[in-house]
C-alpha cells in the first residue's frame, strides 16, 4: 500500500509542481499556498478514504481535474482561483459527509423528493437572478445555487422510485414540480440533465424500445415547446443552429468558443497565450474552450480521458454493489456527472444547445464544486468498505 501511495502521489506532486511553476512564470502575484492547500487536502482525503477502507481510486483523477481548473482560473483572475480553493475546502466536508451518507440513505424517498422540491421552490420564490437565470439564493452573505444539491436528492429519490415501485403519479408530481420551478427560474440546463438521467436510469432498469422512442419523442416535443414559449431558449437554439448568422449577438459566445478552440490547434498557444477574455462567462461556461486554446487538442483530449477514467472507475464500483437501490443511486450519480460533461462540452462544440452549466470539478462555481465532491463521496461510500459486508 505504501508503494502505491508513494507512486500515485509522486506523480501527482510532479503534475502540481509543473503547473504551479508554469503559472509563476506567467504571473508572479499568484498566491502559492492555494495549490499547496489543495494538494494537502487531496492527500488527506486519499489517506482518509483508504484508511476507512473505501476505494480511493477516484481522488487522483479529481485532483488533476480540480488543479487544472484552478490553474486556469488563476490565469484568468486569481480571485476566482481563491474562491475555488475555498469551495474545494467546503467540498471536502461534503465529500466526507457523502462517504457517511453513502450506504445510510434513509428509506424515506419522499423526504428526499420534498427536500429537492423545497430547495427549488425556495429558489423560485426568493432567488436572485445572475446571468439570466434566477437560480441563486443569498444566505449569510454567500451566494449559492440550491439546484446543485436538489438534483442529488432527486437522484436518490429516483433510485428508490424504480426499486420501490412507487406510484407514477407521485413521480409525475415530483419531476413536474421540479421542471416547472426550473422553467420559472429560466434555468433549464439542470432540468434537461435530470430528465436525461431519469431516462437513462429508466432504460437501465428495464429496457424497451417503446420507452426509448417515447423519451426521444418527449425530448423533441420539449424542445419544440421550449422554442415556442421561452424567448431565451429560442436564443439558445438559434445560437446552436445558426451562429454564423448572428455573429455579434446570439451566436457570439458559441463562435468565440470555436475560434478559441481552433486557435489552440494541436499543442495550444501555451498557458497565458490565449485571447480568452473576449468569451462571455469564460470562467463558468467556457473554461473548456480556454483549455482548448491554451493546451490544444492534446490538453482537451487528456482532460476528457481523465473524465472517462473517472467514469470507468465509478461504473466498476457501482457494478460491484449488490443492493439494487444503492446501485441505481450510484448509476444515477455517475450519469449526472458525465451527462453534464457531455452537455457542457457538447454545447461548446455545437453538438447540443448550450445549457450554461459548469464543467464538473474544473469550472468556477463553489456550489457546484461542493455538490460534485459530495457526489464523489457518495459514490465512493456506496462502493462500501473493504473487508466489510458489501450489503451493509
Amino acid at each position: 500500500m505504501i508503494k502505491t501511495l508513494y507512486r500515485t502521489w509522486l506523480e501527482f506532486t510532479g503534475w502540481l509542481l509543473c503547473l504551479v511553476w508554469w503559472l509563476f512564470w506567467l504571473q508572479g502575484q499568484v498566491s502559492w499556498w492555494e495549490p499547496c492547500v489543495l494538494w494537502v487536502m487531496f492527500m488527506v482525503l486519499y489517506f482518509l478514504t483508504r484508511q476507512l477502507g473505501f476505494d480511493a481510486g477516484a481522488i487522483p483523477f479529481v485532483a488533476v481535474l480540480l488543479l487544472i481548473g484552478w490553474v486556469f482560473l488563476a490565469r484568468l483572475n486569481p480571485t476566482w482561483a481563491t474562491a475555488q480553493t475555498w469551495g474545494a475546502l467546503v467540498g471536502c466536508v461534503g465529500y466526507v459527509l457523502g462517504l457517511w451518507i453513502g450506504r445510510r440513505q434513509p428509506a424515506y424517498p419522499l423526504a428526499w423528493a420534498v427536500s429537492a422540491l423545497g430547495l427549488v421552490v425556495i429558489t423560485t420564490l426568493f432567488g436572485i437572478s445572475v446571468g439570466g437565470a434566477r437560480a441563486w439564493i443569498t444566505l449569510f452573505g454567500q451566494r449559492f445555487q440550491p439546484v446543485e444539491l436538489a438534483r442529488i436528492f432527486l437522484i436518490i429519490y429516483l433510485a428508490q422510485y424504480f426499486v420501490g415501485g412507487r406510484s407514477k403519479w407521485e413521480l409525475a408530481i415530483v419531476l413536474g414540480g421540479f421542471f416547472v420551478c426550473l422553467a420559472w427560474q429560466r434555468d433549464l440546463g439542470p432540468a434537461l440533465l435530470v430528465f436525461f438521467v431519469f431516462c437513462w436510469m429508466s432504460l437501465h432498469w428495464k429496457f424497451t424500445w417503446t420507452k426509448l422512442f417515447a423519451y426521444l419523442g418527449v425530448t423533441a416535443a420539449g424542445f419544440f415547446v421550449a422554442y415556442q414559449w421561452f424567448p431565451h431558449l429560442r436564443t439558445r437554439a438559434i445560437a446552436w443552429l445558426w451562429p454564423w448568422d448572428y455573429l455579434d449577438s446570439k451566436g457570439y459566445q458559441v463562435l468565440q468558443g470555436l475560434f478559441a478552440l481552433r486557435s489552440g490547434g494541436i499543442a495550444g498557444q501555451g498557458l497565458g497565450g490565449g485571447l480568452v477574455h473576449v468569451i462571455p462567462n469564460v470562467h463558468t461556461d467556457y473554461l473548456f474552450a480556454v483549455i482548448g486554446e491554451e493546451l490544444g487538442i492534446l490538453g482537451t483530449f487528456s482532460l476528457l480521458v481523465v473524465y472517462l477514467s473517472l467514469a470507468f472507475w465509478a461504473l466498476r464500483l457501482v457494478h460491484s454493489i449488490q443492493d439494487r437501490c444503492l446501485r441505481m443511486t450510484g448509476l444515477g450519480l455517475t450519469l449526472l456527472l458525465h451527462l453534464q460533461v457531455f452537455l457542457v462540452v457538447g454545447g461548446i462544440l455545437r453538438l447540443v444547445p448550450f445549457t450554461g452549466m459548469t464543467l464538473p470539478f474544473v469550472s468556477y462555481g463553489s456550489t457546484s464544486l461542493v455538490a460534485q465532491l459530495t457526489m464523489l463521496g457518495m459514490v465512493t461510500g456506496l462502493g462500501g468498505r473493504k473487508g466489510g459486508s458489501l450489503d451493509a
Binding site: L247, R262, S263, G292, L315, H319, L349
Partner: protein
C-alpha cells in the same frame, strides 16, 4: 453497467471527433469575427533594432491600435512591413510569432549605412547589398524602387500600378545577366586548374573570332600585351573568353561552387538564378565566361562571391537576424556559419590583388574614392532589350578586407560610370562600422 459504460465511451467518442474537427480543421483564424486576427494590431510588438541598438521598427500607440513605424524607407525590403490592411512581409512575417510575443529582434543591419546606400541609389532602379566577409552578416540591403512601410495607406494604389514593381526585392529576387562581374570566378577556376598564372602575358587584339562569330572587348579596345591580372583589371573579354573555352564544363562547376544557380540559405527567401548544365559550344563557353548568354544571377549571389574572395575563399552563410530576446522564450543568437570553401586562400589572395589593381588602374577606378583603398570588379551586362545593367562588386580595405558589396543598377549603363561611384560611397561608409 457495461452497456452504460459503452454508451458513455461512445458519447465521449463523439466529443473527441468534434474536438478533432473544431480544433484542427477549418479556417477560422482569419474569420472577420475572430478577434485574434485583429488582436495582433492591438498589442505592442517587439522592436527591431539595428546592430548598434538603434530602433529600426517600432510600434506606436495610435488610439486603439498600434501602427508600425520604420526608420528608413528601404527597410521594407528586409524587415518587410506590418499593416492592418495589407498584412505582413519580410522579417515581420517570418518572425511574426516572436515579435507578436513582444520579443525584440536585433539585426545585423547598420541604419547609417542603410540610409547611405538608399541615398546613393538616387532613385535609380537597382540593388545594393553589403556583407561582412568574415561572418556573413548583412550590413545593408537596399532594393529600389521601394515600398514605404510608414505610408502604405497613401501610396498603395501607386505601388500597384508602378511598372518598376516596387514590391520586388531585387537583391534576392532580381535575376540579371552578371556580365564581367563573373570574371573573378573564371579566373579562380583557371588558376585552380593550372591553366594560367597571374604573371602570364596575353596578346589582346580587342576581338576574338570564333566560328564566324566574334567576342569583342568593351568598345572594341585592343589592350595589347597584358598579364592576366591586367586582363581582369581592364576586363578583357578576349582573354576571359579564351580561359572559359579552355575550362569548358568546369567553368559551370566553378559557377555552381560559388553558389550561382542555387538558392542561397538565407532568412529571406531568395531565387537561385540560372546556370546551364552543359556548355553547348566554344562560343557558348566564351559568352558564359564573360557573364552573358543564359546565365542569370541575383545581386545577393554576387555579393557573396565578392565576400568569399575578401574572406580568403571561405563563403559564409548570409544572415540578417542577429538575436531574438525577451518574452518568455530563451534568447536566440545566430552564430556565423561557413557555407563552404569555394577556393584555396592563395587563389583568393591572387584575386584580391587583381581586383585591387582594377580599382587602382582598371575599370573599377573611382572619381569619388576619397582615400578608400578597395578592390573591385565592374560589369556592364548586355540585356538584349534596352540599356545595359551596371554592376560592381568589391571589398574594402584593400589589405585585409572587412566589408564586401554588390551594386546593380538596372539598365544604368556602364558599370564603371554608374555602379562604381555608388559602390565606393557605400564601402567608405561601411568602413566606419564597428565589428
Amino acid at each position: 453497467m457495461r452497456k452504460t459504460f459503452i454508451v458513455l465511451v461512445l458519447m465521449y467518442g463523439v466529443i473527441f471527433g468534434s474536438l478533432f474537427y473544431w480544433q484542427l480543421c477549418g479556417d477560422l483564424h482569419n474569420h472577420p469575427a475572430n478577434p485574434r486576427y485583429y488582436a495582433m494590431f492591438k498589442t505592442d510588438r517587439g522592436v527591431i533594432f539595428d546592430r548598434s541598438g538603434i530602433p529600426l521598427a517600432t510600434s506606436m500607440e495610435d488610439g486603439e491600435v498600434y501602427t508600425r513605424r520604420y526608420a528608413a524607407t528601404s527597410l521594407s525590403h528586409v524587415l518587410g512591413y506590418f499593416h492592418q490592411r495589407y498584412g505582413m512581409t519580410g522579417l515581420e512575417r517570418l518572425y511574426h510569432e516572436d515579435l507578436s510575443m513582444g520579443r525584440s529582434m536585433i539585426t545585423t543591419l547598420d541604419l547609417g549605412l542603410q540610409k547611405t546606400a538608399e541615398d546613393a541609389m538616387q532613385g535609380k532602379t537597382g540593388a545594393i547589398v553589403v556583407v561582412r566577409p568574415a561572418t556573413g552578416e548583412i550590413l545593408a540591403l537596399v532594393s529600389s524602387p521601394m515600398v514605404d512601410g510608414n505610408v502604405l495607406d497613401d501610396n498603395w494604389p501607386d505601388y500597384l500600378v508602378d511598372k518598376r514593381s516596387p514590391f520586388m526585392n531585387r537583391v534576392t529576387h532580381g535575376l540579371y545577366p552578371p556580365g564581367s562581374v563573373v570574371k573573378p570566378i573564371v579566373y579562380a577556376a583557371a588558376l585552380q586548374d593550372g591553366l594560367v598564372d597571374d604573371k602570364q602575358v596575353w596578346q589582346d587584339d580587342g576581338v576574338l573570332i570564333l566560328q564566324n562569330r566574334t567576342i569583342s572587348n568593351s568598345g572594341g579596345r585592343a589592350h595589347g600585351r597584358i598579364t592576366t591580372d591586367e586582363a581582369l583589371a581592364l576586363s578583357s573579354n578576349v582573354v576571359f573568353a579564351q580561359l572559359a573555352i579552355a575550362l569548358g564544363d568546369r567553368l559551370l562547376d566553378a559557377y555552381e561552387l560559388f553558389g550561382l544557380g542555387h538558392e542561397i540559405r538565407f532568412e529571406l527567401q531568395s531565387l537561385g538564378g540560372f546556370v546551364p548544365a552543359k556548355v553547348a559550344s566554344d562560343y557558348d563557353a566564351a559568352q558564359l565566361g564573360i557573364g552573358q548568354g543564359s546565365i542569370l544571377v541575383t545581386p545577393l549571389q554576387m555579393a557573396l562571391v565578392a565576400s568569399s574572395i575578401a574572406n580568403g575563399g571561405e563563403m559564409m552563410q548570409p544572415y540578417v537576424v542577429q538575436e531574438l530576446r525577451g518574452g518568455l522564450k530563451m534568447r536566440q543568437i545566430t552564430r556565423p556559419r561557413v557555407a563552404g570553401q569555394v577556393m584555396p586562400s592563395s587563389i583568393a589572395r591572387d584575386l584580391q590583388e587583381a581586383m585591387v589593381l582594377a580599382a587602382r588602374e582598371g575599370t573599377a577606378q573611382s572619381r569619388v574614392s576619397g582615400g578608400v583603398s578597395y578592390g573591385g570588379k565592374t560589369g556592364t551586362a548586355q540585356t538584349g532589350h534596352g540599356g545595359d545593367h551596371a554592376w560592381f562588386i568589391g571589398f574594402a580595405p584593400a589589405e585585409s578586407p572587412t566589408v564586401a558589396v554588390a551594386v546593380l543598377v538596372e539598365q544604368g549603363g556602364s558599370g564603371s560610370e554608374v555602379a562604381v561611384p555608388i559602390g565606393v560611397t557605400v564601402l567608405r561608409e561601411a568602413l566606419g562600422i564597428d565589428e
